[in-house]
Structures are given as C-alpha cells and as structure tokens.
Amino acid sequence: MAHLDVARIQHDFPILKQEVNGRRLVYLDNAATTQKPRQVIDALVQYYETTNANIHRGIHTLAVRATDQYEAVRGKVAAHIGAANSADVVFTRNTTESINLVARAWGDANVGEGDEIVLSLMEHHSNIVPWQLLARRKGAVLRYADVRDDGTLDLDSLRALVGRRTRLVSVVHMSNVLGTINPVAEIAAMAHAQGALVLVDGAQSAPHVPLDVDTLGCDFFAFSAHKMLGPTGVGVLWAKPGLLETMDPFLGGGEMISVVKPEGSTWAQVPHKFEAGTPNIADVIAFGAALDYLRHLGMEAVREHEKAITAAAIEALTRLPGVTIHGPRNVGIRGGAVSFSVDGIHPHDVSTIVDSYGVAIRAGHHCAQLLMRRLGVPATNRASFYIYNDERDLQTLIEALRQAIKVFTHDSARTAV
C-alpha cells in the first residue's frame, strides 16, 4: 500500500488521535461518512473568522470575498468530475436532495402516465423513494434490474427493461453495500439508444475513483461532500450542458430569481436558478479544502490504495470461520465498502462487540432494503475503507471479529458457575 503516505495522512485527522472504549479508534464506516482533515476544519473556522457574509447580492468587501470563495468551489467540483462548465454544477444539501431535485424539476415535466423509470435492486433508498413519489404523482411505472448472485448488476435484465416507454434509467455508480462498480457508460448507451436519460448516484464513487462525466456518458451525476472529507450539508448535482436550462426551478425564493413581479417571476441563470435561499456557504467553502486535499493525493493514488486494502480485507475476512462476503471479489470492479455476514451472529451483535475494541463498522440494511431481500439477509456488517486506513486497522478489525466469533461459538466453563 505504497500509493499513499498513510501515516502522514492520519496525522491530518484530529479525530483519529482519540481512544474509543479504551482502544485506538479504528474508523471503518467511511461509506456512511468520512472524517475531516485539519485543512477542512481550518477552512470552516477561517471562513467564520475572516469572511462570513451572504453571497451574490452584497457590494461590500466581505460579500465579494465570500462569493468568490463559494463560486471557486464550483470550479473545483467541476474539475473533480471532469465537467467542462462549472455552471452545470448545482449545490444542494446532499445526494438525496440532488436526486429529489431531478425527480421534481425534470421528472414532473418529462415523465407521464405509463412512462417507465428503470432502477436496480442495489439502489440506496435515496435513489428509490424519490422515483416512487414521482411515479405516484404521474402514474408512472418503476422497473428494477436484478442483481446477480456475485453482487454484480444483471445487465441482461437491465437491457430487457429499457424500452420505448423508458424516460430515465437511474443507477448507482458504486454500491454502498456490495462495493460493486457498475458499467455506467454501457448502461448510458443502452438508455440513450431508447431516448431515455441517465442519472448516476455517485455518492460512493466520487470520493474513491477518478471521474470523468463525459466518459460516464450520464445526464445527471449526484454526490455528497461529507463522504469525501467535506462537511455535512453539501451535495452536488451535475447535469449535462444545456439540460438545466430546460428544467423548471425546484425550490422558489431568493437567490434563484431574475425579476419578481406580482403576477409572476423570471428565473436566474443556471445554476443559481436551482439554489434558492442562502446556501450552505461555509460548508461549500470548506468542501473546497476537501477537494484540494484529494487533488493533492491524486484520485488515481486514492483508488490504488483502496484496491490494495480492499483486496487484503477480502482475503483476511474469507479466512475467518463462518464469514461470507456479499459482493464481487475482484477489486478491479469494486470499491472499498465490504459487506459480510458471520454465521450465527446477528450484525448488531458483531458491531457491538467490535465497537468494544474501538472498531467502528456499520451493521444494518444500509438503506438498501430491496438489496437485503435479494441477498436473503435481514442485515449485513460493513467495513468501508478510506485514505487513512492501513494494514494495522485491518488487523484490528480481524482480531475484533475473531473475538466476536469466539464469544458466540466457544463454550466457556463460566456458565457452569
């Protein structure tokens, strides 16, 4: 794992220096949210100490400074995903809001009765429920592409579902449960051939893999800052050039208008048309520091680091008795979110025991109940890795899991007392 200087990276994360339950904190819940480096925390403090002002309408110095800093992050976001124009980048609260924006502002105008939206069984609830609500409003129909037993998307099943009534195909780029990276470019070509648009949920891919929206070929790309070193409360929606201009506003209010008259209003230019009200200025600016941090590391190096630690994790987990991994084994087609089951031990029990060793993993349905049903499990354990995790973290996890297995399978003489 020489792709990143992990020891130096760990030094940048104040939260990792603490003990939890008397043990060194081993944070392996990165698919839920990542920790924040000193640089991001400092950017947040510095903004409030030196810059704080409302953006876009102010003439005074601080307002101009805040506006410049906020708008500069739009450019950094565009660069991170390989987008040509920063005007195609809309700031939202999170991935969920980005998808809801599309369901409302694009869906309401473009999806009608009997039209179809194609999803997959590996979607996060955030890429299911907004479409269920849209389908209910418009009388549209949802179709779900299957997931194969090996945790990959069943492309044949997807192809069979995409037809002339399909208006949108909305799929996850990297599964938050299985780690699977879906062949988005192929899916986009399939959808476009039928005249449908494509939304990609990039919440798990934007933090972990080099991105280029042109290569992906999608029409919308959504992700969250907090899963990639940034603060909570900032999401991104990118749309293919020209697409946002055709859409109606999502929320109405200040910031998103051009002229307001008693009988009606006209809208601001994109992307401001979709950013009603005072946005999360401080957190967007701090997100800029997170994007700088990742750019300095290089997304290729981030990806290689995670491939190495994920391969080591899969190998070590496979060697534990009674452990089943859900998702592909090949790190070439997967990211660092590793779900597993332990025979005879409920994930909540596993999570409680490993937590007592200072190890933070996630247990539950991971907001993917359709996938849990497909896998035939009520819940799974999930360890998910990031730039500051190393071999030692993995060893601590494995040791804690060994203890959990021992507690549940080892007949201690203690009970006889």
Binding site: R23, H346, T352, S356, P378, V407, S412, T415
Partner: protein, 147 residues
Amino acid sequence: MTAPEPQFDDFYRELILDHFRRPRNRGELADPTHRLEGVNPVCGDEIQLDLLIKAGQIDDIAFTGSGCSISQCSASMLTERLKGRSVAEAAKVLSGVRAMLIEGTPPGPDLGDLESLEGVARLPVRVKCALLSWNVLQDGLNSAAGA
C-alpha cells in the same frame, strides 16, 4: 495486551451461552388465548409471543422470532421468568425491566436472572432490542385486561 479488556465480552458470554444457544419456551402454543407480534423496523428483529392466560394466571407461554442475540435472549428470559406466574406479577416484572433498561434503575430481587440484561442499559442503541419482547408482552397484558 496493554489495552483494557473489552467489558462486553463477559456480558455477551453469560447471556449468549445460557439463552441464545438454548432458548427456553421457543415455539408456538397449540391453543394460546393471546398471540402477539412485534418488530423493530430498524433492526429487523421479530418476536411472536403466545400466551395462555386463565383466571389471571399465565399458564403457558412461548415465543418465536429472529434477530440479534439481545432480542432473542430477552424473549427467552421473559418466558422463563413469567411461566406459571400471575398477570399482576408479570406487570410488576415488566415495569422493573423497563426501569432497569430505560432509566438504569438497579434490578430488584423480583427480576431474578433478568438482571443479566442490566448491561444493555449501557448500550443505548441496543435497548430497543432488549425491550422488544417486553413491549409485545405489554400488548398481551393490555388485551388480557380488556377481555
């Protein structure tokens, strides 16, 4: 190892070896007077509780379900503690268990082995697992009182 030994190992060992591996009164009654179900939607824990209540007495009791060890052990202990006891005693034990798990009140002598669930009060996110079967029991006692 220099780090302190994790405190939940003992708690788990005691609980699991005794009730998780050999659950008491697991199954369904042939002719229950009350059959009630409860789920924790967040965890997916499920409990079905069968009660045979006659003349203010729990003559028989059984449970089925699936979920984490805490939810299933708690249900097993519930049935063991309340089989053959009066409805009035059941209500008293129920409120003692709730006080122990929710308010951290030290368990009284009437809780018996249920005191081994005391450690769950230190795991706030797991309290609902331990309470599931007791909330189902509450429904049963309510419907017995209404009948």
